[in-house]
Symmetry: C2
DNA sequence: GTTGACATTGACCGCGCGATCAATGACGTT
DNA sequence: AACGTCATTGATCGCGCGGTCAATGTCAAC
C-alpha cells in the first residue's frame, strides 16, 4: 500500500532505530536492507530511498550510536563535589565503568564498528574522533592531577595521563562486554584505589 | 590437474597460512573459500575437503592465531632478574605493550574474532579461555605484589589485581591497533610508573 | 601393467545480498 | 474533479557466497 505517511525526518529516525535493533540482536553483519526493512515494517526499497547505500546507513548508525554512548563524558557535579583531583579522577572512572553493564549492547556494537574501522577509513576516522573526544574530556582533571603532585608526576603530560586512563576504561569495557557476570566494579575500584594510593601524608605536614 | 601432492597435514597448514594472509589483508569477513583457495593456489573444493565447513576453518584459524599471539605469556628471565615484585610486574607490562606494534596484524585479527565471539558461543569460549590464561599468567606476580605490601593491598585479591593489569594491557592493545603512530610506550610506562609509585618509605623504617 | 585408494578440480546449485525501477497509491494544490 | 508530487512497494537483476559432487589425475601396492 504505497502512499504518503511520514514525510518528515521521522522515517530516517525509524530506520535508524530499526537498524540498531537489528545490530543489537545480530551484529553489524546482520544489518541488511531486508532485515532493517522488516524490523521497521517497511519495504526494502524505502531503506535505499532514505539512505542511498547500506554503507551510508551504517555510517549514520555509527553517528547515532556515538551521540548517545560513551562520549557522554560530561563531568558535571563530580567536578565540584570532590576536592582532591586524584579522588575526582577515580570517581569519574567509577562512574564510567559502572554504567558499562547497562550500555552493554551499545558498547558491543561500538567494538563491532571498531573492527570495521580497521578496514574502512571513514569509520576509523569517526571512531578516532570519538575516542579523542573521550580522552579530552578527561584532560582537565588529568591536568589537575598532575599539578596536584608535581614531583610525583614529573615527566608525565596531562594528555598522556588522560590517554592511560581512557585506555584503562576501554580495557574494562572489553572485559565487561565479554563476560559481564565476572565483571566486578567494586573489585576493580578497590584494586585501582590501592594501586594509585597517594603516599600517606600523615607524617609529612 | 588433480592428483596426489601433499598428502600430509602440510595442506592444512598451507590453507591456514593462506587464511591468515587473507584475514590480515581483508579481515575475517574477507575469508571465503574462494579467497583462501586462490591465496593457497588450490581449488576451492580442497578447502572443504580439509575443513568441512568455513566455520570449522575459522575456528582452526583462531586456534592457530592464539597459539602464536598474546598468550605467549612466559615470565622467564624477568621473574628472576628483578627483585621488587611491583617493578617486576611493570617490566612485564612493558614487555607486553612493547611488542603490540609488532603484532599488530594478529592483534587486529584477534579483535575481529572477539567481535565474532559476541555472537558465536564456540568462539567466545575459546577467547575467554585465552584471556583467562593470559590473566592467570600474571597471577603469580600479582600474588607477590599483594604480599609485598599487605596493608596497601588490603581487600585486593591477586586475581583481581591480575584482572586489572590484563584489562589495562587489553586497552593498550586497542589503542595500539587503532592508532599506532600515536601509541607511545615510553609515555605509557612513565605515566604508569608515576601512578603506582610506592609511598616513598624514607621516613618509615 | 593393472588396480584401487584418494587428493584435486571446477562446474554447479540455491540462497541472500545490495541495488534498481516501473508501478502504485496518498495527499496538497488548483 | 483533475492533476502533479512524491513516498512507497515489491519484483527483479547480477553477484558472490557456502557447499556438493562427478570426473580425473597421481601414486603405492601387487
Amino acid at each position: 500500500m504505497p502512499g504518503r505517511k511520514a514525510p518528515e525526518e521521522q522515517r530516517r529516525h525509524d530506520i535508524l532505530r530499526a537498524a540498531f535493533a537489528v545490530a543489537a540482536r545480530s551484529g553489524l553483519a546482520g544489518v541488511t536492507a531486508r532485515s532493517v526493512a522488516t524490523e521497521a515494517r517497511i519495504s526494502s526499497g524505502l531503506v535505499f530511498f532514505y539512505f542511498k547505500t547500506i554503507d551510508a546507513l551504517l555510517i549514520a548508525l555509527l553517528d547515532w550510536l556515538l551521540e548517545r554512548t560513551i562520549v557522554a563524558g560530561e563531568v558535571r557535579g563530580l567536578a565540584v563535589t570532590i576536592a582532591d583531583p586524584a579522588e575526582r579522577m577515580l570517581a569519574i572512572v567509577r562512574r564510567d565503568i559502572e554504567r558499562l553493564p547497562r550500555q552493554r549492547a551499545r558498547v558491543e556494537l561500538f567494538f563491532d564498528y571498531w573492527v570495521l574501522g580497521t578496514r574502512n577509513p571513514a569509520v576509523r576516522q569517526t571512531i578516532r574522533g570519538a575516542l579523542d573526544r573521550y580522552r579530552d574530556s578527561l584532560l582537565v582533571i588529568a591536568q589537575q592531577v598532575v599539578e596536584s603532585a608535581p614531583q610525583r608526576f614529573a615527566g608525565v603530560t596531562p594528555l598522556g595521563l588522560a590517554g592511560v586512563v581512557a585506555g584503562f576504561i576501554e580495557g574494562c569495557a572489553l572485559q565487561a562486554v565479554m563476560d559481564p557476570s565476572r565483571f566486578d566494579v567494586e573489585q576493580y575500584m578497590a584494586t585501582l584505589g590501592a594501586l594509585v594510593a597517594h603516599p600517606v601524608p600523615t607524617h609529612v605536614s
